[in-house]
């Protein structure tokens, strides 16, 4: 019986962890390695780094961060943002990442998902989807929530999972950094579009938000960023409260 996962999401810009609202207006919140270690010590189940710049410089910067942090955290580490080729994926995995998350490049070249999953195994190929509410549906956006694709979330996930990915990370751009709760409609849509593990991101502000995401939307894990960085929620407290609500959580460290 798999336990539900609490995942810390660290958005990276140059050497800093940053956080904005709806992927905009970003402010520096700390150091990537320091925050990852702090959350590891506090009992986080997993860590996700997303490079918000995703330039060539960004990639070199990210490998340095990953190499440093892999020395001191012993839970899974996912790296995304700027993974455009099989070589980019290999570089991140060699630096110490366990999974690579692919969004923009996967939309323009879905075969990348297949290359990564057949070469390194589907367990390390994560499909990252950034979605915005558009009329009565959700559209896939790329380049850190900036560019429209004309592709809709349900269709894209059904198609992308054919390429052998092992997990889906769904981010609501509308809720990112707002602490207003996950977009449950979006997350339920994704849950119903795939049998793969689904991780929700964007909007977590309270234990109640976690509960809704894990119970009502039946997600396998939830990312938390802003609310963790500014201390609105605390890892042990969430874990204990969710366990009291009957959610199956990791107990031992």
């Amino acid at each position: 019986m798999s336990m539900k996962r609490l995942i810390a999401r660290l958005d990276i810009k140059s050497q800093h962890v940053i956080k904005g609202v709806q992927m905009d207006g970003q402010r520096i919140v700390g150091d990537p390695a320091e925050l990852a270690s702090k959350y590891y010590e506090a009992g986080i189940d997993e860590i996700v780094y997303l490079d918000t710049v995703a330039s060539l410089y960004g990639r070199e910067n990210m490998t340095a961060i990953v190499e440093q942090v892999a020395q001191s955290i012993f839970v899974p580490l996912t790296v995304g943002g700027g993974i455009r080729t099989l070589e980019d994926a290999r570089l991140m995995l060699r630096s110490g990442a366990d999974k690579v998350a692919m969004n923009s490049a996967a939309v323009s070249n879905p075969k990348l998902l297949q290359e990564v999953s057949t070469t390194f195994g589907s367990q390390c190929a994560v499909l990252s989807v950034e979605a915005k509410r558009v009329e009565n549906d959700w559209e896939v956006f790329t380049n850190n929530g900036r560019d429209r694709t004309g592709v809709f979330v349900g269709k894209w996930i059904e198609r992308a999972q054919e390429f052998g990915v092992g997990e889906v990370l769904i981010t609501s751009v509308d809720r990112d950094g707002t602490k207003r709760g996950l977009d449950l409609g979006l997350n339920k849509l994704v849950r119903n579009s795939t049998d793969l593990p689904v991780i929700g991101s964007g909007g977590i502000g309270s234990t109640q938000d976690f509960y809704q995401a894990l119970h009502e939307a039946d997600l396998d894990g939830v990312c938390v960023g802003a609310a963790l960085h500014n201390g609105t929620v605390e890892i042990n407290q969430i874990r204990n409260q969710l366990a009291e609500f009957g959610i199956n959580m990791r107990r031992s460290r």
């Binding site: 892999a70 012993f74 070469t119 367990q123």
Partner: protein, 215 residues
């Protein structure tokens, strides 16, 4: 005694995180990419991500299978992690059948779901409780760990040993038992990733590296 840990590299992804984690407990970590005549390992770690057939064919191409068999004859303990555990079996059933190292009699088969537990998915990704099946004396790997410690899994295939005596730990998947660790003499295998399982996982690796050569 000083340990010398041979981390066997067959070109599949995450060996560096395994190497970094073992480096917490040993000053001598060697990445071994192919057969070598002279080797003084006291421990062998076979990390693993990717597919059974790729892993076993790379292991053979690089001559690492010969090195493994030779070292096991000298009594050197071996730990297979995830796919590294799966290739210890006699055969793997993926798209086609491939023969394994045959150190643990049995097969590696794709996970299947009957949906009797709706929280289970394929791949099986995430934390699960591990229940050791052997007492501490029989299996030093889990010494000092609580019965039902949590560990991180990421796999789509599972090991089915022929002999139940080779099963050293069980976990739950889809409402049934899943073999999460095996042991036969000084050959150990874990389906989970000890290098990614927090403090409990570190303890598993520390325990492995304190197992002495079996002369």
């Amino acid at each position: 005694m000083n340990t010398v840990v041979g981390i066997f590299d067959y070109g599949c992804g995450n060996l560096h995180s395994v190497a970094r984690t073992c480096a917490k407990f040993s000053d001598n970590i060697e990445i071994v990419e192919r057969f070598q005549q002279k080797s003084d390992f006291t421990h062998i770690v076979l990390p693993g991500v990717g597919s059974y057939s790729n892993a076993i064919s790379e292991i053979r191409t690089r001559g690492l299978d010969q090195l493994i068999h030779g070292k096991l004859n000298d009594g050197v303990p071996l730990l297979g992690i995830c796919v590294g555990m799966q290739v210890l079996t006699t055969e793997g059933h993926e798209n086609s059948l491939s023969s394994g190292l045959d150190l643990i009699g049995g097969s590696t088969e794709m996970l299947s779901l009957t949906k009797s537990d709706k929280s289970s998915r394929i791949p099986n990704m995430g934390w699960n409780a591990v229940i050791p099946e052997m007492s501490g004396n029989e299996n030093q790997l889990f010494q000092g760990l609580e019965n039902g410690f949590d560990a991180y899994f990421a796999h789509s295939f599972e090991v089915k040993p022929n002999d139940a005596a080779d099963i050293s730990a069980l976990s739950k998947f889809d409402g049934r038992n899943l073999v999460s660790a095996v042991k036969r003499e000084h050959v150990y295998g874990v389906q989970f990733h000890p290098e990614k399982s927090g403090e409990s996982g570190l303890r598993v690796l520390k325990n492995f590296l304190s197992i002495k050569t079996d002369n």
